[in-house]
């Protein structure tokens, strides 16, 4: 394809040269929205061919146009969207079809799984009704019995236990992972040829993500459908996809096979993205690759390369004309499909080092790094902390019908200069633990010691204030945690005013803080909405640091951020810890981030720590079956490894803490337990394993390293 073709010529060419056997061919897809700020050009020329049975991964950050692309293919964008180009399903043009004509294809030829399973099912209809509806629309002649039988089959296929009864259940009676399975069942009900999955696992826990990805895999095998997998997580697609399309600012910037993209990226953005992701499988502690800046505003025309503003390799030539997506020339063993939209693609050969190109900072060294752990002072200590919620029933007179043991006997400590992370699925008690530490009240069950002050002594305001000065918190959602009506100056001044600091000193301290977290000091009079997500989280960090605490509690500090921005914030946290000698207590669900930033880790399950120790010991040699399962659930951004590794797929969801089992909490889902002979199982069911030290770490299991149940092991050959 020459560089000087007009869109009309490219469309014609596409019609002529598109592979005849492609199920879906997209050519020069452009989507524009009218907004208050002018026309937003959300998708700017997307081309791809999807072959039968193959999987295409579309990767990009939020706002890159990947979801809009999928919605345009489905014909689900609002009528006001201006869509041009061509979308062909088996050679038939879909763009421009009426809603009614498009309905013949939607759900039967092309089906879709959406991101948020909690809101994607109609709350007032049963799950069965919603599956059967999808069958009825496309098979009006099917009998009721046949449809019901098919719905039961579908639910069984996606792994929902006792499917026949569950047909009559309503969506709110299912967990998030179960609902996403139902969504998949609906999508594959009519054996579609193309299945589009838009961030299907983003809202789910890692263990549930692994289950759902497994279900998608099965669904693809059963139906032979081609899959378009849209995600921001490079790990998720590494094992699934055959081809990858990296999108940036509404445009594909690099396409190719998974191997091309992961092992030989030719576009600096792809390179940066790969370097920005921490790896759960490596103890390598170098800094992550930060991609500074933000994507361009698509309401304005893009001049030159859209990535130029953030690219470390940028030169004058990059600013003249947007680079075309061109075949990457002449590397031996190169597939023809590898294309990159970068005039410097040649300079980036297979051994390009993202750390060098993006000038990743060196790994910071803390003054505590040389001191043995036990010689450092304790910053925080928890002794047998418990939080039990009574479960009440009755309208006027409450009866106690049970106890939810949200946190059940937690003991650990944090020393100076170290980062301790608590990991586990949602509902395991991570957040309650943080709340208990923040609560700091003498009536709590168990003892919390912060900087030498015990909660048992916190009877007056002065002690509590002293503790607050020792410990501060950074929250998950930087947008929600900052008052929109406060300027940054006011946000940062508030904690200092509380301490009674004089005005001049406050001003000086705020300027210091802004520099410390990498923000421009002259931005202090702006409001939070004038900052990007990453910058807001930096403000949140600055606020926490204002009073010079020794310990910072981080509650999912980067989970709301895009990958490239996340890397910058993680690097900042690393740097601050080293420079200021801080200690962190972090709660995170992303184990890769945990591995990257933490020194020690505690794995929680149903209110108890099941394994704890140095992060490298626990991650490299997990002993407790739950830790093993959790780690195996994390997808790694390495296609070869991802395709061959054995993974443990836990059955079911986290049980409700109400019906916690009598013996080992984990026995109901344990892959080791399932493989044990009945005689040994007895022990797990009756006795509670104590958290005991063995080898490098502590864990609570009678049969560590035990053989795993074959049913829960999966390898994709």
């Amino acid at each position: 394809m020459s560089t000087n073709t007009t869109p009309a010529e490219r469309l014609r060419d596409a019609g002529l040269y598109a592979p005849g056997d492609a199920v879906l061919s997209v050519r020069d897809l452009n989507v524009r929205f009218n907004s208050e700020n002018g026309v937003v050009h959300a998708v700017r020329g997307v081309d791809f061919d999807l072959m039968p049975g193959k999987t295409l991964g579309i990767v990009g950050e939020s706002g890159s146009g990947k979801s809009v692309t999928s919605m345009a293919i489905m014909g689900l964008l609002p009528e006001t969207a201006d869509i041009t180009g061509s979308v062909r399903y088996k050679g038939k043009e879909l763009l421009g079809l009426s809603d009614k004509a498009m309905c013949k294809h939607r759900g039967s030829d092309i089906a879709m799984v959406f991101q948020d399973p909690l809101s994607s099912l109609t709350p007032v209809y049963t799950v069965g009704h919603q599956i059967i509806e999808a069958l009825t629309v496309h098979n009006p002649t099917m009998t009721k019995q046949a449809k019901e039988a098919r719905a039961v089959d579908l639910l069984r296929m996606v792994g929902i236990p006792s499917p026949k009864d569950r047909l009559k259940a309503f969506p709110h009676e299912f967990s998030g992972g179960m609902r996403q399975r139902v969504m998949i069942a609906i999508a594959i009900a009519n054996d579609p040829r193309v299945l589009i999955a838009d961030e299907p696992t983003t809202a789910l826990d890692v263990t549930i993500q692994a289950q759902v990805l497994e279900v998608l895999h099965t669904a693809q095998e059963e139906t032979g459908a081609a899959v378009v997998m849209i995600t921001h997580d490079l790990g998720v697609v590494a094992g699934m996809a055959d081809d990858i399309m990296v999108m940036y600012a509404g445009k594909p910037v690099e396409t190719g096979t998974v191997e091309d993209i992961y092992y030989n990226p030719r576009m600096p953005y792809t390179l940066g993205l790969l370097g920005a992701v921490p790896r759960v499988d490596s103890s390598d502690k170098q800094s992550l690759v930060p991609i500074e800046g933000t994507p361009p505003n698509l309401a304005q025309p893009v001049i030159g390369c859209s990535f130029a503003a953030r690219c470390p390799m940028v030169s004058d030539a990059c600013l003249h004309g947007e680079p075309e997506l061109l075949a990457v020339p002449g590397v031996q063993g190169q597939t023809l499909g590898h294309k990159a939209a970068c005039i410097k693609a040649d300079e980036l050969s297979g051994d390009a080092d993202a750390h060098k190109i993006f000038q990743a900072p060196p790994k910071p060294v803390s003054k505590f790094d040389g001191v043995a752990r036990l010689e450092r002072a304790k910053v925080l200590e928890l002794k047998d902390v418990k939080k039990h919620f009574p479960l009440l029933k009755g309208a006027l007179i409450k009866k106690r019908i049970g106890t939810v043991k949200a946190v059940d006997g937690l003991s650990f400590d944090i020393r100076e200069g170290e980062c301790v992370s608590i990991v586990g699925e949602s509902g395991c008690g991570k957040t309650t633990t943080l709340l208990e530490i923040m609560e700091f009240h003498p009536d709590q069950m168990g003892e919390v010691v912060i900087g030498g002050v015990s909660n048992k002594a916190a009877t007056d305001r002065k002690t509590t204030m002293a503790m607050r000065k020792e410990m501060q918190m950074v929250f998950q959602d930087p947008t929600g945690a900052l008052d929109p009506r406060f300027t940054v100056y006011e946000v940062l001044a508030e904690p200092l005013e509380n301490l009674g600091m004089p005005k001049a000193a406050i001003r000086k301290r705020i300027m210091e803080l802004m520099k410390l977290v990498g923000l421009q000091p002259d931005h202090v009079n702006r409001f939070p909405n004038q900052f990007s997500g990453g910058q807001r989280q930096r403000i949140g960090i600055a606020r926490a640091l204002a009073v010079n605490p020794k310990l910072v509690v981080l509650d999912e500090p980067v989970s709301a951020l895009d990958v490239s921005v996340q890397a910058g914030v993680i690097n900042l946290l690393d740097k601050l810890r080293a420079e200021l000698g801080l200690s962190y207590l972090m709660v995170a669900h992303d184990l890769s981030v945990v591995r990257h930033i933490s020194d020690r880790v505690a794995v929680m399950y149903l209110g108890k720590i099941v394994e704890t120790g140095d992060v490298d010991d626990v991650f490299d040699n997990p002993r407790h079956p739950y830790t093993r399962a959790l780690l195996s659930a994390i997808p790694v951004p390495d296609p070869n490894l991802e395709r061959t590794r054995e993974r443990i797929i836990l059955q079911g969801d986290l049980p409700s803490p109400l019906d916690a089992p009598k013996g080992c909490n984990f026995a109901t889902r344990c892959p080791v337990f399932a493989a044990l002979p009945a005689g040994k199982q007895e022990k797990c069911l009756t006795l509670e394993p104590p958290l005991a030290s063995e080898g490098a770490q502590d864990f609570a299991c009678f049969y560590p390293d035990g053989e795993l149940d074959a049913d829960m092991l999966v390898v994709h050959a």
Partner: protein, 327 residues
Amino acid sequence: MLKYLMKRSGIYLIMIFLTTSAGYFLAVSSLKPAVLEQEKIPRPTPEQVAASFRGLGLDPDKNAWERYVEWLGGIVTKWDWGRSPNGAYVNAEFADRVLVSTRLFIASIILTLIIGVALGVYSAARQYKFQDRVITSYSYLVHILPAPIAYFLVQLGAISINETVGQRIFFVTGISTPGIDPGWPAFVDLVAHYAVPTFAMTIFGWAGYQIAQRQYLLDNVNADFVRTARAKGLTRNQAITRHALRVSFIPVAQSIAFTIPAIFTGGFFAEAIFAWPGIGLWSIQSIGLQDVNVATATLAYGSVIFAIGAILADFATTLVDPRVRVQ
């Protein structure tokens, strides 16, 4: 479900008892029928007034508590809600009044509901188009138009129709013509009396439902589950009517149940203007006439209707929202 309704009914019974008792104390301490007796000619002596009231169970010399016990005793033992200062029995008039009110409002309640919800759906489906703007503007206009003026306008319209035709087709006031033959003539007479108030209350009544239904539906039109339904192969309109509508009807169903009692008990404008002497008018008049027992009885009726409305609201919600059923 039945158990739940029984429980709710029990709670409402206690609440009705409390509001009615409180209302009785308020009425008995603020309404003084003796003052009105003074305007009679010949003016009765205070002793005569007291004696006549004593005979009606309205003894002004007893304190509030004694009268409350007496009044409550009458209701509990004989279902006797007492008498008016003019000697009339509350029980005797009550049923007639309730019947008049019910007949006046029932048709327009059903019509406003159906038309309002239908127009809400219609206008939501055509958001910002011409039809939507007309319908919704009309609803807002009606909202700011005081009810008496609106009813008068309809009456004037009906009168001008009568004049144009030169024959009395519509009656703008009254319930029925006295002395009409039973059968067909009576039915025609009924319709002629019924048409104007029902029409007036309907066209000025649906605005609230229309606006609410439109708003709730629009909130749901772009919901994720509607998108899922469309992705299955339903057209946009099918997805909206089958999925968004039912969800958006949940809050409307609740509001319906709560507006019904308001119309029944607060419809005194309609009752006064169209001269249908129903319960709303009676309750206002009773306060003017310093009539303790009637004021309390209408208050009790209002509480009962409200409780029925609340139970209906619960019932309607459970009907459309399965999430409430599981308990």
